[in-house]
C-alpha cells in the first residue's frame, strides 16, 4: 500500500470578506466583541433550525454546523450559517450517538465556500457545557482551530460555544445570534 498525504493547510479568508456578508445588526454586534478571542456568529436561520431540532426533548439531539470561517485580527471568526440535524441517532437524556449518515446529508451542501465549521448537540436540563465525551469528539473530529462545538440546553435556555481541538470556551459576549432569531 502507498499512502501519500495531500492535505492542504486550510487558508481562511480575511475578516474583510465577512463584513460584506453580514447584516447591520451582526456587524454592530461584532464591533462589541473581543477580537483577540475567537468569535462566533450564528445566523438566525441556523439558530432557529437548531432550536427546532433540539426542541423541548428530554433526550439529546444534535447535528453538524455548516458555514464559513475567517481569519480575524486576533483570532478566528466562525460563522454558522445552517445546521444539518442528525436523522439516524441513538440518544438518552445524557448521551447521543449520531450515525455516519449525517455526513451524507451535509456533503451536497458543501459548495460555494461552505464548509463543515463544527457540530452541535443538546443537554436537556443538564446545563450547557462540554463533557469529557464532547471534548474527545471535538479533539478527534473537529480539530481545526476554526472548528466550533455548540451545546444547547433548551430547558434552561442556555448556550455555550467551544472552539478548536482543546475546546476553548468562547465568552458569551463573543457569541452573536443573528437578528430575528
Amino acid at each position: 500500500m502507498r499512502w501519500q498525504d495531500q492535505s492542504e493547510t486550510f487558508a481562511l479568508p480575511a475578516f474583510d470578506a465577512l463584513q460584506a456578508r453580514l447584516g447591520a445588526f451582526e456587524r454592530q454586534k461584532l464591533q462589541d466583541t473581543n477580537g483577540e478571542l475567537p468569535r462566533v456568529v450564528i445566523s438566525a436561520a441556523c439558530w432557529r433550525a437548531m432550536r427546532e431540532d433540539v426542541g423541548q426533548s428530554h433526550e439529546e439531539r444534535g447535528g453538524l454546523l455548516l458555514g464559513r470561517a475567517y481569519a480575524g485580527t486576533g483570532a478566528e471568526v466562525i460563522v454558522a450559517e445552517r445546521s444539518v440535524a442528525s436523522r439516524a441517532f441513538d440518544s438518552t437524556g445524557v448521551s447521543l450517538r449520531m450515525e455516519s449518515g449525517i455526513w451524507e446529508l451535509a456533503r451536497p451542501l458543501l459548495k460555494d465556500g461552505m464548509i463543515v465549521v463544527g457540530w452541535y448537540h443538546s443537554h436537556p436540563n443538564l446545563g450547557a457545557f462540554f463533557s469529557e465525551t464532547d471534548r474527545a469528539t471535538q479533539r478527534n473530529f473537529f480539530r481545526n482551530a476554526f472548528n466550533l462545538g455548540l451545546v444547547i440546553d433548551p430547558v434552561r435556555n442556555e448556550l455555550c460555544a467551544f472552539v478548536g481541538p482543546d475546546s476553548m470556551h468562547v465568552p458569551d459576549e463573543n457569541v452573536i445570534v443573528g437578528e430575528g432569531a
Binding site: 500500500m1 498525504d5 445524557v94 447521543l96 449525517i102 455526513w103 456533503r107 464532547d134 473530529f141
Partner: protein
C-alpha cells in the same frame, strides 16, 4: 493482482491522501490506514463511502472494479458521540 489508485478524504474534507492499494485489500484496510496516518481514534465506528459512485463499502468489501475505480474519492465518515456526563 493489480493495484488501484484512488483518493481518501475525511468526512469534513480537511484531509486527503492519494492511496494505492492492491485490489485484494478490503474496506477496513482503508479505514485502518486513515486511522493510522491521520491519528484518528481507533475506538470509533466509521463508515466508508465511495462519493464518486455513491456506494457504501462494508468493511469486508474487496476493492474490486465494481466498487473502486481509479481516481474515485472515498470518504471516511465517523460516528459522532456526545454525552452529558
Amino acid at each position: 493482482m493489480a493495484d488501484v489508485k484512488f483518493i481518501v478524504r475525511t468526512a469534513d474534507q480537511t484531509r486527503k491522501a492519494e492511496v494505492e492499494m492492491d485490489r485484494t485489500s478490503i474496506g477496513s484496510d482503508i479505514i485502518q490506514a486513515a486511522v493510522d496516518n491521520w491519528a484518528l481514534p481507533a475506538d470509533t465506528d466509521y463508515a466508508l463511502v465511495n462519493v464518486t459512485t455513491g456506494k457504501s463499502l462494508v468493511p469486508m468489501q474487496l476493492l474490486d472494479e465494481n466498487f473502486v475505480k481509479p481516481g474515485d474519492v472515498l470518504e471516511v465518515q465517523p460516528v459522532l458521540v456526545a454525552g452529558g456526563w
